[in-house]
């Protein structure tokens, strides 16, 4: 067993303060613990628990427990929860030693694998038996990890729910919400770890910091006590002007709270506001007011305020609540973000036609969240990497065409760079890429795509694509229509621009080649009217709506013809 005591964590023992212990189980749990160890923000005993000795070796936590030394011989559980469980049972004495004497035990784990799923329930059991309050933070595997892991995760979750006093669940699929689509995958995982670490920190802060309005363990259990429920956690921190509102906004934006919609359903909500010495009553009042808007009147609000000089001038708002399983199913808690789904009726068909980029909701509520979110995750990947045509059918009208075109065009290197800016609104993509109006997107993307067609060649590219409506409005369509109707239609649609008075166009002066000219002109399709050079560019429109790319003489002649 590896003994590391680099940081001898002094346990701040104040008489009457709560002793907390954080146990990270398995690989994922270890990652979270590492983050907490690095951040050094939590005053608690940190214990890393694993079967794999190598992972333990890399861990930065001061205390480590290796599970099932003889059984596993320092090798991981290989994705088998039974092995994980066995190992934990084997080492139950050491585990007990590690967690004993604490008032609260947090357990962090990633479900789906061997050690995490298998050992965590055992550890929770042991912790409970020492009389501590057991707080669980678990992550659910990505949907692409496969059904088996998901099943293992679910089973483990079930067991944990029986043993834990509170459970905060984080779905890996929703990692996509934490970062921009183009950010590296490492950042996504880091953010997830941070989120979990934040929640732990928040809870332990709530319970340990001397507060003006104290929240105790009893309040915590009241807020989080629903049988088999899931925890909702929101955390927001802000500083500077308007920090109160900012902090609340951010707290509500937490993926685990889903824009605060889920708060509509809760019975008890725990709000903890922490600030530096500069926290004012006015701010607290404003914060509570804003929260009040998002929470129904019947909710029981448990309110705590703490002043922690270490926070400086930032304000932290922590929201803790829980939803019972029954409520969860109706709310489809882990479903895609708020703006996509109507809150009332979650029947399958309606979701499919309501919002374009919402993936088809699956059948049962339980697997639904995972799949929905996964599809969404995939969708964003697809949007930013043009080579994935699988989900095209769900997308709104303009997009499939654009995507198809891009896919079929053998996109050159720059394409992804352009794609990212033009990503539809599903993700906030600030990367200096505003969301231009969708029409603009289309046009700009076309420019890039078709730029590789050498100029002199006329357009083969757009066979079946509906042409840009703007041009169609003004230019006669095809040979098939008799010239007069076309012209009349065109002219009727265009108010004559201020330019066109007969004064500068002497009526007698019709160009010599005019007759043939005119016929040829009408034989052209709309695209050709604009000239080859401007085929792929955004049309220039005059105030009256004319397409100025069409030669002036041509437009004029049409107007005069009538």
């Amino acid at each position: 067993m590896v003994e590391y005591d680099r940081h001898a964590l002094k346990e701040s023992v104040e008489p009457g303060s709560l002793k907390t212990c954080i146990v990270g189980v398995g690989g994922a749990g270890g990652n979270v613990l590492d983050r907490i160890t690095l951040d050094r923000t939590v005053d608690a005993k940190l214990v890393s628990v694993h079967t794999d000795i190598r992972v333990l070796g890399h861990s930065m936590t001061p205390h480590k427990v290796q599970l099932g030394v003889e059984l596993m011989r320092g090798v991981g559980a290989g994705g088998d929860p039974d092995l994980g469980r066995e190992a934990a049972v084997f080492s139950r004495e050491q585990i007990r030693e590690a967690v004993d004497g604490h008032d609260i035990v947090f357990i962090c784990t990633g479900l789906g694998g061997g050690t995490g799923s298998g050992a965590a329930p055992v550890i929770a059991d042991i912790a409970k038996s020492t009389g501590a309050l057991v707080f669980l933070t678990a992550t659910m595997p990505f949907s692409f990890e496969g059904k088996r892991r998901l099943k293992q995760a679910e089973e483990s979750l079930e067991q944990l729910q029986k043993r834990a006093d509170a459970l905060i669940l984080f779905e890996n699929n929703r990692m996509g919400e934490l970062t921009l689509p183009k950010d590296g995958i490492q950042k996504a995982f880091t953010q997830a770890d941070q989120l979990i670490a934040q929640s732990l920190r928040a809870v332990s802060t709530i319970l340990t910091t001397p507060g003006l309005v104290k929240l105790g363990l009893d309040d915590l259990t009241a807020a989080l006590n629903t049988s088999n429920g899931r925890c909702l956690f929101g955390f927001g921190e802000a500083r500077g002007q308007n920090r109160g509102n900012e902090a609340v906004k951010r707290a509500l934006k937490s993926p685990l709270i889903d824009q605060g919609r889920l708060l509509h359903q809760t019975k008890t909500l725990l709000v903890h506001i922490a600030g530096g010495e500069s926290l004012t009553l006015l701010e607290v009042d404003a914060i509570m007011k804003q929260l009040g808007k998002n929470v129904p009147d019947q909710t029981h609000i448990l309110f705590g305020v703490a002043v922690d000089p270490k926070l400086g001038d930032s304000v932290c708002v922590t929201l803790l609540s829980s939803l019972g399983l029954a409520q969860l199913n109706t709310v489809a808690a882990a479903a895609p973000p708020v703006e996509m789904l109507p809150i009332k009726e979650r029947s399958m068909p309606s979701i499919m036609d309501s919002m374009p980029s919402v993936p088809k909701a699956a059948k049962a509520p339980k697997p639904a969240p995972a799949e929905d979110a996964m599809e969404m995750l995939f969708r964003t990947e697809e949007i930013s990497a043009p080579a994935a045509p699988t989900h095209l059918t769900v997308e709104p009208e303009p997009q499939p065409e654009v995507e198809e075109e891009i896919v079929s065009q053998e996109v050159p290197v720059e394409e992804p760079a352009f794609e990212a800016p033009e990503t539809p609104e599903a993700f906030e993509a600030p990367v200096a890429q505003e969301e231009p109006p969708p029409f603009e997107d289309e046009i700009v993307i076309e420019q890039e795509v078709t730029a590789y067609i050498p100029e002199p060649e006329p357009e083969p590219v757009k066979p079946a694509r509906p042409p840009r409506p703007r041009i169609e409005d003004f230019i006669p369509q095809t040979v098939a229509r008799p010239a007069t109707t076309t012209l009349a239609a065109v002219v009727a649609r265009n108010p004559a621009p201020p330019v066109e008075d007969a004064s500068f166009m002497p009526a007698s002066r019709t160009p010599k080649v005019s007759e043939e000219e005119a016929q040829i002109a009408f034989q052209f399709g709309s695209e050709q009217d604009r000239g080859r050079r401007f085929q792929q560019t955004e049309p220039v429109l005059a105030d009256g709506g004319e397409d100025l790319d069409v030669p002036t003489w041509m437009r004029l002649k049409r107007k005069l013809k009538r």
Partner: protein
């Protein structure tokens, strides 16, 4: 600080890509060290549509500029244009605190902030914030408010903005060369610095830079910039019109426009015929000169009218009249058309005389690139200790509209 600094200006235009290397001396003169141009490909109406092509040509132009000037170009002032560029005038008023009688620099900053805090479309980014004037207690035309006594200080600004994505595309393209972009400049503003002199600005003048893809215009009234923008119509459109009217290939149409083209189509006999030949000398088309010129006239007039429409409301006295520059301004008879449309005197201008190895750069095609050098010089004079690298999107430094 060095007595003279070397700047490089880059204009990615529709008909040419041009790199200018210039040396700006402390006394305000500019010496052109080298100019590299190459016929542009992959640019339409002032905007890049094909990165690769543009980069190839850009590299060409760079080499051609670096050789004679013997300078390694690392950072450039990039000129951008395009129909998306819009402008507006904005005023911000700042009331001085009660106990304060004199206007201080801080007050000026406050007023500036308020003036600049104007609504632009979400996808737009600021290109320029140009001081027009300060107004102290209702008195207009104040250039230097600091130290004056007053209660209310207003800052009057001319704001130019454009679509963020397009501007960034241009920057991206340049960065990949690799070149650093020191600043992004609307080419109209750049050209105006060398085409319009102090007097013209004071009297009121409208400069129209008609290039291959766009017509940039900048309007000065009472010594202050009043309107600016870009009409995405240019020489290319004229060429296209000719090509489609006479049914000849684009290249021929361009040649025709340059050699035979004119905006004057009256007083021509019907048997004045222009022959168009292909490479082998075979005739491919015949056209009456009057017809040809009329086609050109129509389009040219349209461009002028478009500029006029957009300047509506700002055209005041304009005593100095219209200044035409840019390649298309070489078209015969274009001054007549302009005079007709604007009803003011028209001057065809290149950039103000600059010294240099090649004195040919009074050609109107080079107004904008040379203007970039001048712009760089002015910027440096305003804020001599500014760091050379600035990121796109930040509001630019003030550019006083009347040059010192």
């Amino acid at each position: 600080m060095a007595k003279s600094t070397i700047y490089a200006g880059l204009e990615i235009g529709t008909s040419k890509i041009c790199v200018v290397v210039g040396e700006a001396k402390r006394d305000g003169t500019i010496k052109i060290l080298g100019v590299g141009t190459a016929p542009s490909r992959g640019v339409r109406k002032g905007e890049i549509v094909d990165f690769q092509k543009v980069q190839t040509v850009l590299n060409d132009a760079l080499v051609r500029a670096e050789e004679p000037s013997d300078v390694m170009i690392r950072t450039v002032f990039l000129g951008v244009t395009g129909g998306h560029i819009k402008s507006l005038n904005s005023r911000g008023a700042w009331r001085l605190p009660e106990d304060q009688a004199e206007i201080t620099e801080d007050d000026v900053e406050e007023a500036k902030e308020i003036a600049r805090n104007v609504e632009i479309p979400q996808d737009h980014v600021f290109l320029h914030s140009i001081t027009r004037q300060y107004i102290v207690d209702g008195m207009e035309g104040v250039r230097q408010p600091i130290g004056r006594e007053g209660r209310v200080l207003e800052a009057d600004y001319h704001i130019i903005h454009g679509v963020r994505g397009r501007i960034q595309n241009a920057v991206k393209c340049v960065r990949e060369v690799p070149l650093e972009v020191e600043d992004v400049v609307f080419t109209g503003i750049a050209a105006a610095q060398v085409v319009l002199n102090r007097e013209a600005k004071a009297q009121g003048a409208l400069m129209i830079d008609i290039g291959g893809g766009t017509a940039d215009y900048v309007l000065y009234e009472d010594g202050m910039i009043a309107a600016s923008g870009c009409v995405p119509l240019g020489g290319d459109h004229i060429t296209q019109d000719i090509a489609m009217a006479v049914q000849i290939p684009d290249r021929r149409a361009e040649e025709l426009k340059v050699t035979e083209g004119s905006c004057l189509f009256e007083d021509l006999t019907p048997d004045d015929i222009v022959r168009v030949e292909d490479d082998n000398g075979f005739m491919i088309a015949e056209v009456e000169r009057s017809f040809l010129n009329e086609v050109i006239y129509l389009r040219t007039r349209e461009i002028m009218e478009q500029v006029k429409t957009r300047c509506e409301g700002h055209i005041g006295h304009l005593a100095a009249g219209i200044y035409l520059t840019g390649g298309t301004s070489l078209l015969k008879g274009i001054d007549v058309v302009a005079e007709d449309v604007f009803e003011r005197k028209v001057t065809r201008a290149g950039s103000a005389p600059v010294s240099g190895v090649t004195a040919t750069f009074e050609k109107p095609q080079f107004s904008a690139p040379i203007g970039l050098i001048r712009y760089a010089q002015i910027l440096d004079q305003e804020k001599p200790f500014m760091s050379p690298l600035r990121r796109l999107g930040r509001k630019m430094a003030d550019l006083l509209s009347v040059m010192p």
